[in-house]
């Protein structure tokens, strides 16, 4: 047992607070599932939040998705050319974008844009006692603020992910059509030829998991923000970093599981 000042720690202040954070995050997630499936349900607020998240991210996702499509196609062309396999470019892009790039790019953008916004908003509400004000007005702030936002990110990010994939393929077609005469129809036919149901399923699963992660991490960090405006800044920063870290971790795990199913 270590002692710092008058407070006693099991290991050290940092290690103890890390495990405390993990445990609190776990309890927060369990509470989400308990609250999400009991009445009252704030459907209107969920729709409002979906609209907010979708609209906020749409322009950035359009631009980024298009650029990813163009750049990835441009980068892949020389390698395929050296094998005389340029005709496989649409197929390669279809697989790359649908399986990995669409959900990943969308979730990384949303972790930055939507996650920081949720965390900052809830953090500000916490430090200005607005969350306490809801509680004393007999309104469950967890249900109204957290459940609605987590639901909204879990619903919106898969939709945005498909949109990003679609725009990415348009970017890819733009690059392909500049180099050789290909119609959009043929390009899309080739792009989707090698995409299986498992690819679509894994893409949706990834986007759902990433959306949930962004929502829960950002809400958790914002909901427990302390120490005034500085604390809100810190919570926002931690929400983005932790969301991105967890998204990559989940990517590795989901890819492993999908590959295992694919070759089973």
């Amino acid at each position: 047992m270590n002692t710092v000042g008058t407070k006693k720690y099991l290991f050290s202040k940092e290690i103890d607070s890390y495990f405390e954070g993990v445990y609190n995050g776990y309890r927060f997630t369990i509470r989400f599932f308990k609250e999400a499936f009991t009445s009252p349900f704030h459907f209107r607020e969920i729709i409002n939040q979906c609209f907010e998240i979708g609209l906020k991210s749409l322009s950035l996702i359009t631009l980024t998705g298009f650029i990813v499509g163009v750049v990835f196609t441009k980068q892949s062309r020389p390698s395929l050319e050296s094998f005389g396999a340029v005709s496989w470019l649409p197929s390669l892009m279809g697989i790359a974008i649908m399986r990995a790039l669409g959900p990943l790019v969308t979730s990384l953008i949303c972790a930055g844009k939507v996650g920081s916004s949720i965390s900052a908003e809830l953090g500000s509400m916490k430090v200005t006692e607005q969350i306490d004000a809801m509680e004393v007005s007999a309104i469950n702030p967890f249900k109204y603020l957290v459940v609605t936002r987590v639901m909204a990110t879990t619903i919106s990010i898969p939709i945005l992910s498909f949109y990003c994939s679609f725009i990415g393929l348009i970017g890819s077609y733009y690059n392909v059509s500049n180099e050789e005469a290909t119609s959009l129809q043929v390009f899309y036919h080739n792009a989707f030829t090698n995409i299986s149901f498992l690819d679509i399923f894994s893409s949706v699963t990834k986007a759902l998991v990433y959306g949930f992660t962004i929502g829960i991490v950002s809400s958790y960090k914002g909901f427990f923000a302390t120490h005034g405006t500085r604390g809100v800044g810190k919570a926002t920063n931690q929400a983005v970093i932790l969301s991105i870290f967890l998204i990559f971790l989940e990517e590795v795990i989901i890819v492993q599981i999908v590959n295992w199913i694919r070759y089973f």
């Binding site: 407070k7 509680e135 004393v136 007005s137 007999a138």
Partner: protein, 258 residues
Amino acid sequence: MEKDKIQLINPEETVIKIEELYKSFGELEVLKGVDLTVQKGENLAVLGRSGSGKSVLIKILAGLLKPDRGNVTMLGKQLGQLQPKELDELRLRMGFSFQSSALYDGMSVFDNLSFPLTMNIKHLSRKQVNDAVEEALDAVGLIDKIERNPEELSGGQRKRLGIARTLIMKPEIMLYDEPTAGLDPVTCAEINALIVEVQQQYKTSSIIITHDLTCAKNTCERIAMLIDGTFLKIGTFEDVFNTDEEQIKKFFSYNFTL
């Protein structure tokens, strides 16, 4: 006004009863065995220096913090024994005016008031909501600000709006946390008058947490002096002011001359 205030109080009916209340944060003991009762219709001020545990006490009364030991009974219900749903039902019978006003920035003045109403009472018609909002805003003199946003209001107006938001649920108990903190003397006097007006119009019983002696003197029938986590003296303003207790005399000497 004094006569009216005394008529409102029913000494037979206790609406808030605090018994042997303790609260610590880590090794810091904030409340060390607090006892207090508030009668129906009474306004009671809890006076004390910053950090004396006043805000902790009011947050325990609102159910925002849990005490380590002791009982709080409000409107006949013991707080520690209530299920979340019962606590919410009790909360609908009390209003809490925050020091920071705690207005929802994302909402207009109208929405700030209609939000607790529509979230707690389903199937209200638009007219019923409009009427309730207008009545509450009228009571605090902000009817002309109905379409504004909270950030467009002055400090005093924000305090009034915070009070109006609690009045919309027609509370039986009002809890004010530093209602005059950070306001100029004229606005302080207006808020003090509003607190008395709320007591008379809505027949509320109140606990007012403050370190503003003028506010305590002008709005309350009794004062409770919270020093070092315990009530050193409870009585009328004159009783407390004329006490021989050294710490209370020191507190008054820095702040006030009758």
